[in-house]
């Protein structure tokens, strides 16, 4: 096959960002290890608590973003080839869509489950376990397991959030967000189990419903984000708040070139990068001028990758 038309490889990440990506991958491996251990601990101690079951599902779910991050990161590194002629920068967008669909689906299932438990007034079963020859209320063990499960997401989540903010890594920010939902889930689970101890059977299912609501909210928010990304919508800031100042900065920089009579930009995100079109309100454009625009764009921000330049005299 001819190599004509193959897009140049994506812009190399700056050294700091490259290191950050490696660091993020190591954090993801740690997340997988700790969350797996915490989930096993919760499974072994969960009894009949609805809130704890919900917290366990949330825990298992929080494995999806780091797994998807690791897969996407590896896939992205393969870059441009004869099959993927425009590169694999969108691997993180696909990872994001997968996580969002998983979160939304499970959120819906959990809301249904908790509502069903509440409406049918099902009493949660919390028995006893034998510790050193004594029968101990299982609720104590469940609360301890939930508290232990909250520690890794707090520590890893803070680190990921710092890294994501510092280096504008949106997929890592999503992962950290899910981690935050994770420890909040554990806290709500503890309240639910403590409620069972007070004889409040509905406390558990209500806590589960609150958790399920938060999972669903995360899922829907991320799903909207994923749909935006797949439609090449305008770039958003790291926490998905509007607007990203990057297009404005680029436009100002290009308009400052002495020969430019006016400009507009149409940018979209592609994984870690931002690409798009710069439209100049000039009547003519030389190859040298187009290259000057691209060079100016690259100097504005490391995220700006593939910039096409065209004329838009209107």
């Amino acid at each position: 096959m001819s190599t004509d038309g193959i897009r140049p490889p994506a812009r190399e990440l700056p050294a700091a960002q490259r290191d950050a990506l490696r660091h993020a991958e190591r954090l993801c491996w740690w997340t997988l290890l700790w969350v797996s251990l915490a989930s096993t601990l919760m499974y072994l101690s969960m009894g009949g608590s609805q809130a704890m079951k919900t917290a366990l599902v949330e825990d298992m779910l929080s494995l999806v973003p780091p797994i998807a991050f690791l897969v996407a990161s590896r896939f992205r590194r393969k870059g441009v080839d004869a099959e993927y002629i425009t590169g694999r920068e969108r691997a993180f967008d696909i990872n994001f869509l997968i996580s969002a669909v998983a979160l939304t689906g499970v959120g819906l299932a959990l809301v249904y489950d908790s509502l069903h438990t509440l409406l049918t007034a099902t009493r949660p079963v919390v028995g006893s376990v034998v510790v050193a020859g004594h029968a101990v209320w299982q609720g104590w063990i469940m609360m301890a397991a939930l508290a232990a499960s909250a520690v890794p997401p707090v520590i890893l989540g803070r680190r990921k959030l710092e890294l994501a903010r510092q280096l504008q890594l949106k997929p890592l920010h999503t992962d950290a967000d899910v981690g935050k939902a994770d420890w909040m889930t554990a806290a709500a689970g503890i309240v639910g189990v403590a409620g069972i101890g007070f004889g409040l059977w509905w406390a558990d299912a209500t806590a589960a419903l609150v958790i399920a609501g938060s999972v669903l909210h995360d899922g829907v928010t991320n799903l909207r984000g994923a749909v935006r990304d797949l439609h090449d919508a305008r770039p958003q800031q790291l926490d998905r708040s509007d607007p990203d100042p990057l297009p404005e900065r680029l436009c100002t920089r290009i308009a400052a070139l002495p020969w430019v009579e006016g400009c507009a930009v149409r940018l979209h995100e592609e994984g870690l990068h931002v690409s798009g079109l710069v439209m100049l309100r000039n009547r003519t454009l030389t190859a040298a001028q187009a290259e000057e625009v691209r060079a100016a764009a690259r100097a504005v921000d490391w995220r700006l990758d593939q910039i096409d330049v065209s004329l838009d005299p209107e």
Binding site: R123, V131, A135, I196
Partner: protein
């Protein structure tokens, strides 16, 4: 004893208080040789004796409610019974819906086998469940 704080954990439907005030109502499902329900409704066997010893130790009156296993388990799930003895199958569909005691460690004859058998307890009644299990463990520890 570990975790034996007064008043915590509690029952969702005050089963402990009801046992003290009105007596224990225990479902009996014919399951020889562990639990025997005679034609006249009299209940016997090693599991029945265990439930009676528990009631005596706590000063509760005990009323046996003989019946079909599913009907008894339905009542147990709604906290209308304090326990159901006999008739439990290891793959019982009721398994996740009700509580299960610690193993009973009873024999049908002095040197007979001691399979793992449990009594079903109402869900959501943490204090009641814990008291029953503590009694069973104390029995095991007794010489």
């Amino acid at each position: 004893m570990l975790g034996a704080c007064d008043g915590y954990p509690r029952d969702a439907d005050a089963m402990t208080a009801k046992a003290a005030q009105r007596g224990m109502r225990v479902g009996a499902s014919h399951d020889p040789p562990w639990l025997l329900v005679a034609a006249d409704g009299t209940v016997g066997g090693p599991e029945a004796a265990l439930a009676e010893r528990f009631a005596d130790a706590h000063g509760y009156a005990l009323t046996w409610v003989p019946g079909g296993h599913d009907a008894l388990m339905r009542d147990l799930a709604r906290a209308r019974l304090h326990a159901v003895a006999g008739g439990h199958h290891p793959d019982s569909p009721w398994k996740p819906d009700v509580g299960w005691s610690q193993p009973l460690r009873v024999r049908a004859s002095p040197d007979g086998p001691m399979p793992e058998r449990r009594i079903a307890l109402p869900p959501g009644q943490s204090a009641w469940h814990l008291a029953f299990d503590r009694y069973l463990l104390a029995q095991d520890a007794a010489p």
